[in-house]
């Protein structure tokens, strides 16, 4: 059998397909249409077969299902052993993973096991004139974009940044094949055991799915500045983000971090307050639909990516902005 098709790991947790799995299916579909090959998804878990249809609706031609009580929860060893068997059996041309805590744990392990290349956290994927996968990713804190190829080893593997690729609109009429794959798994080969999984009690910051994000940076000067950021975010119906400088200063937890080392976001509205616009930060938010920047330095790099810029002291500007939004909303609701 030859290397031909484009494969994705359809990552699921607790019987729910991760959003990034649909995103990489969308990317895989686009690449496969260009390469004229099929999209295959690998679905691993305990009693997960029912999820196959939705993978087909989102672009998969074939879904290979590996079911076992041994893979109820993700473990590095079990998944690596399964994917090693899948790769040796089916010889994928390309294999994509979501760059999640699972994908980034698993993919390098698999790459070493089968001796192939792996490109981390890709934000762009394409096929070149020779049919090779072009993998684009930020490097040096987002200061550079590097395009990477894996010419001599197969599969060509990438992890793909969540929130970057577009998923297809689900099409319930799409047809595909669901195939059971009987991977050999032995309890004794699984050297780690998940004894507990705890959802953090802390409020989960869902930056990736927020429509409005108000972020604060070094220009806040004190951790208390985030209270003002929060008020503005509340007024706009959004969530609070932060630059790496603010997180590194210990003013806010890293869950809020937007940028190359934080989350990639593309909300409808992004408001950057006291953020200078290091490329590291821009790498995570420049895809936002509308960008507003408030900064007292008229030469701040953030203004170059902003649709609307206010040059001024954020501690003077934001309170006024909050008041005006309040009265604007009252007017709108009255009219």
């Amino acid at each position: 059998m030859e290397n031909k098709d484009i494969w994705v790991l359809a990552e699921q947790r607790n019987g729910k397909i991760m959003n990034v799995a649909y995103e990489i299916l969308g990317a895989a579909r686009r690449l496969a249409d260009k390469k004229k090959c099929e999209v295959c998804a690998v679905l691993v878990g305990d009693k997960v077969r029912d999820l196959s249809d939705s993978l087909i609706h989102h672009g998969a031609d074939k879904v290979y299902v590996v079911e076992s009580p041994l893979v109820k929860d993700y473990t590095t060893d079990a998944y690596t052993n399964i994917l090693e068997q899948v790769i040796k059996n089916f010889k994928p041309e390309v294999f994509l993973y979501g760059a999640t805590t699972i994908g980034r744990d698993l993919a390098p392990r698999v790459a070493s096991r089968v001796h192939t290349g792996l490109t981390a956290d890709c934000t762009g994927l394409d096929i070149d004139e020779d049919g090779l996968l072009l993998q684009t990713r930020p490097a040096f804190g987002g200061n550079l974009m590097a395009t990477i190829k894996c010419p001599d080893y197969r599969p060509q593997m990438s992890t793909v940044r969540p929130g970057v690729m577009e998923k297809l609109a689900p099409d319930a009429k799409r047809k595909g094949e669901v195939i059971d794959f009987d991977a050999k798994l032995d309890d004794k080969d699984l050297r780690t055991q998940v004894v507990k999984m705890v959802k953090a009690a802390k409020q989960v910051v869902n930056l990736e799915e927020a429509q409005v994000i108000v972020s604060g940076g070094r220009g806040l000067k004190t951790p208390d500045g985030f209270e003002l950021i929060k008020q503005l975010a509340d007024e706009l119906g959004g969530v609070v983000g932060a630059s790496r400088a603010a997180v590194d200063s210990g003013w806010i937890s890293s869950d809020h971090q937007v940028g190359q080392t934080g989350k990639t976001v593309r909300p409808e509205l992004y408001v950057a307050c006291g953020i200078s616009g290091a490329i590291q930060h821009l790498a995570g938010m420049s895809g936002s639909r509308t960008i507003v920047a408030i900064n007292k330095d008229p030469n701040a790099a953030i203004f170059k990516v902003a649709d609307y810029a206010i040059v001024g002291d954020l501690y003077k500007v934001i309170p006024v902005l909050i008041e005006q939004i309040k009265s604007e909303k009252e007017e709108n609701s009255a009219s």
Partner: protein, 261 residues
């Protein structure tokens, strides 16, 4: 415990700038630092040594000047430093780097209990070298490790995930990659800094590892960088200056036009 900590010297990417004319990285004047999460790994190793005894060996692969990074880790309290340096190692991707690191560990520390690394390095942000080294060593791994407890040869590790954490049990030998939230790396003491320069850092070249050239550096790297570009994110924005009331009024007008309020 016999602990090996893998560290990397990186440019401080907060300080990296792009030359607007040549569109290349300006490295001049950019300080070299120990990758921040590798310091968390060193701290974790020192804590484990304090609790359970043993030895902390710090290993880095890089050019001769990476010696400075080892000295800093020694000043924090590590026992021995090892610099893997050879011109044949240059240009390695994560696969080839892991090959060199794992071969070093097998050769120099055959009886290791634990290998610790930072979660990822700030120059590449790949987080791949840890797991790839673990695979080539044939030992289990836990990535995103925040807390580590030891009982005999059993490890209990708290692993940070997107929406919470997992508790994972495994036995040594093993490899863990440590996150920033794991601890606060200690500062070297003054005497630690002096002592660090008394220690003999051992150099490791390919004469010690005896890897074939095809497995090293650029040649041994499955991935090839074919192009680098600078991201173009510029927008032609509207700038409001002056009185905050007017500025905000203008902004709200525009946001209203875009149906954002």
């Amino acid at each position: 415990m016999n602990i090996v900590v893998l560290i990397k010297q990186v440019p401080d990417t907060n300080e990296v700038r792009i030359d607007p004319k040549t569109k290349t990285l300006i490295r001049k004047g950019v300080p070299s630092i120990i990758n921040p999460e590798d310091k968390n790994a060193v701290e974790q190793a020192l804590t484990l040594k304090q609790k359970y005894g043993g030895e902390v060996n710090v290993v880095t692969m890089g050019p001769p000047q990476a010696d400075v990074a080892l000295r800093e880790a020694l000043a924090m309290g590590a026992d021995k430093g090892f610099l893997i340096t050879d011109r044949f190692f240059g240009g390695a991707d994560t696969y080839a780097t892991a090959k060199t690191l794992s071969t070093t560990i097998k050769t120099v520390f055959p009886d290791f209990d634990l290998v610790l690394c930072g979660r990822q390095a700030i120059d590449g942000d790949t987080a791949q070298v840890g797991p790839q080294t673990a695979e080539q060593l044939g030992v289990p791994q836990v990535t995103y490790a925040k807390e580590v407890e030891v009982s005999g040869n059993k490890l209990t590790v708290t692993r940070e995930v997107e929406d919470g954490y997992e508790v994972i049990e495994l036995t040594t030998p093993a490899l863990l990659t440590v996150v920033k939230d794991a601890n606060q790396p200690r500062y070297p003491s003054i005497s630690g800094i002096f002592d660090a320069y008394e220690v003999d850092v051992k150099k490791i070249t390919n004469d010690d590892l005896k890897l074939v050239r095809e497995e090293l550096g650029l040649k041994g790297s499955p991935t090839k960088v074919v192009a680098t570009t600078t991201p173009d994110t510029q927008r032609k924005g509207e700038v409001f200056t002056g009185n905050p009331k007017e500025c905000c009024g203008n902004l709200i007008d525009r946001l209203n036009q875009r149906h954002l309020i």
